[in-house]
Symmetry: C2
Subunit: 409 residues, 2 copies
């Protein structure tokens, strides 16, 4: 973790889990595979916190020094644990291999420590209680760490932390610039001193995280629900979920609920919209097909965009977006057709149609809608924002339908 290669996701997972059981993370320290450095880092941590979790360094090689470092620090002898050794030998037998002598190191347990079984790998974890606090050793591979935490660590920590818990909510927003969003909701969240608000922006999406520490679940939930309602009211339909869903999940749900099907004809997004719509399990119930039509010939031959229209208005135009949407709807027999054309760059921009110009259209039984955008950023950000706006068109189509149906009742 001191190289430039590996993003730290374990500590995010652990922070989330610890917060949920009422434990705040006071500090994160990353040290190399050095016994003295690790021992000193853990000593400092134990002076500061009641619970210290060390991740990684439990493997069989000489680089794996966490067991030794913690045994030294707590002045406990390492003893061979026969049960762990048998488990390791058994595991190797199951995979038809002979256990190497070095793996024996993984069966060494400091006196008084409770081993934590690793069902996904060879490295057992350890749970140790001392005068200074609790030390937990977990394996580094994320799937091993998660399985061990869920099965053996979470419930133990829940007992420790009394009734204090972190309660959290998340809203996700699309179609609103971050500065506008903050102007609208800052007057709300600054009024709640008992809750922390974090606003995170990604291309085409803003996440609003609300968190409150409390011993009383009902009070915290009331507070957070009230904040969610007020923020949702201030932001209106730009809020697409309060359940942490991806936009494509929300759109998939709306398509299924309405018994609708969709097909996509995309140019500048190059398959990204189809890929997102089909990333959801069971997407074959609503997704009929997609066409990535880069060349003008393909736009004409595969989606019936009139060549005169392309010549007259240009391939990147509202008119061509509408023709793509209508063409793909007719060709696929889907209830909705989505058409996207634009300039993702870096080349291809002009003064009239700069890089970032994107036109999109949605065709349904009740008619057509179209929207035009100028997205900032590089090719990847432009494509991401365009796919987000296209999915949002589908979402808003169903919201409008619901409103109309409500109005008629």
């Amino acid at each position: 973790m001191l190289t430039p290669f590996r993003v730290d996701t374990n500590s995010l997972y652990l922070t989330d889990e610890l917060n949920r059981v009422g434990i705040e993370v006071a500090r994160k320290v990353i040290v190399g595979d050095d016994r003295a450095a690790l021992r000193e880092a853990m000593r400092e941590a134990l002076e500061r916190a009641e619970v210290v979790i060390a991740v990684g360094g439990l493997g069989p090689t000489e680089d794996d020094v966490t067991r030794e470092a913690v045994a030294e620090l707590l002045e406990r002898k390492l003893q061979l644990n026969e049960a762990i050794l048998r488990g390791l030998q058994e595991r190797f037998r199951r995979f038809g291999r002979q256990m190497a002598e070095v793996n024996k190191r993984q069966a060494m347990v400091p006196e008084g420590a409770t081993p934590l079984e690793n069902k996904r790998g060879t490295a057992p974890g350890l749970w140790m209680e001392t005068d200074g606090g609790i030390v937990i050793l977990l394996p580094g591979p994320p799937h091993e760490l998660k399985a061990m935490f869920e099965a053996q660590v979470r419930s133990r920590l829940e007992k420790l932390s009394g009734g204090l818990r972190l309660h959290a909510r998340e809203l996700r927003v699309t179609g609103l610039p971050e500065s506008d969003l903050d102007q609208r909701i800052a007057p709300i969240y600054t009024g709640y001193s008992d809750a922390q608000t974090t606003v995170l922006a990604a291309p085409g999406e803003i996440q609003i995280h609300l968190r409150a520490w409390s011993r009383e679940a009902s009070a915290a939930n009331r507070l957070l629900d009230e904040m969610v309602e007020r923020i949702r009211f201030a932001l209106g339909e730009t809020v697409f979920t309060t359940r942490g869903e991806e936009l494509e999940e929300v759109v998939a749900k709306l398509l299924n609920e309405n018994g609708a099907t969709i097909a996509v004809a995309e140019s500048c997004t190059g398959g990204l919209v189809a890929q997102r719509l089909t990333s959801i399990p069971g997407s074959s119930s609503y997704f009929l097909g997609g066409v990535v039509c880069y060349s003008n010939e393909v736009k004409a031959a595969w989606v019936d965009v009139p060549e005169e229209l392309i010549q007259e208005k240009g391939a990147v135009s509202s008119e061509v977006a509408l023709a793509l949407a209508e063409g793909i709807r007719r060709r696929s027999g889907a209830s909705l057709g989505l058409g996207i054309t634009g300039i993702a760059g870096p080349g291809g921009g002009t003064r009239e149609k700069p890089v970032g110009t994107v036109h999109m259209a949605l065709a349904g039984s009740a008619g057509m809608k179209e929207r035009s955008f100028h997205f900032p950023g590089d090719r990847e950000r432009i494509r991401q924002q365009a796919s987000q706006a296209a999915l949002d068109m589908v979402r808003r189509y169903f919201l409008a339908k619901q409103r109309e149906a409500g109005g008629k009742n």
Copy 2:
């Protein structure tokens, strides 16, 4: 950075940059916005290292305490820097806004510190030399941090670190399991005690990072080039780049070099292959179009897969993959047609065709090739591995062509 929301990428960027100028990262510490905690963390760091970089906490709000913490630690007074203040006021004027009083805090500079201009934001950085070492304060937003590091920090650090530099190489491999790869190359890299080797596996791809610290560029480069050559020889054509390229970049280059064009008909990958092929700037020179054909009707109507064939062999079969490849090639007029069909799951698997079964085919002027796979993992991993294998089929098609051309000469 002590919440569960934000992945730490700044420290990876800085580690890479520091390594390049010959500075090794000994420790990373993440503390909250607390002046005492920050001061103590920096004190500990200065005892341990010659250079300490603090990232973030330079904004105008009360939470931003890095300037104060470092001034306290080094016992230096904070003084208002008139030039920075004027720059801030100027910046606000340019955006048509009035500077708030709180922003004045950003113009406070500890005695003897050198301000580092921030062209992308309001928070200036700071460079401070002390008896104990060098302290550098950088802003948290990644684009501000990067711009400031490149323009004002890198060259200063280069002077400090003498001639010691980290030299690095990277190989990327596809189509080989990690255990096989390690068995083939461990005898090589374990023989080089002067170089560190890191092997990182992702779905469908393994990266091999080679690093050597040296004062002599030529010796390090000789060593690393020799390792690259030996590893490349051991792994053969599974190595697709030694320049850190994505597989789609390598394929794009091969298509362009060969004056070839491609079209894709994909089922289980749902647009992912098209999206990757079009993520490269200038992809319109080789990518003609793609079809995402989820339903059997679309496979028949859009890519001319005979319905009898689907009934007889099943939609997930080598025969249908071949028909997709040939159909999309004919329909698009591309020199290469790529067809992919499979079961990404979680539903849809059977005993004969379990989740992860993927058939793919490539059609060219010289004939057709097909391959079948059983990929492990969840929907996302299966789709990722399938797209990787599909792109690799295109790469290997050109490698075979080159070999044949070589053989004929």
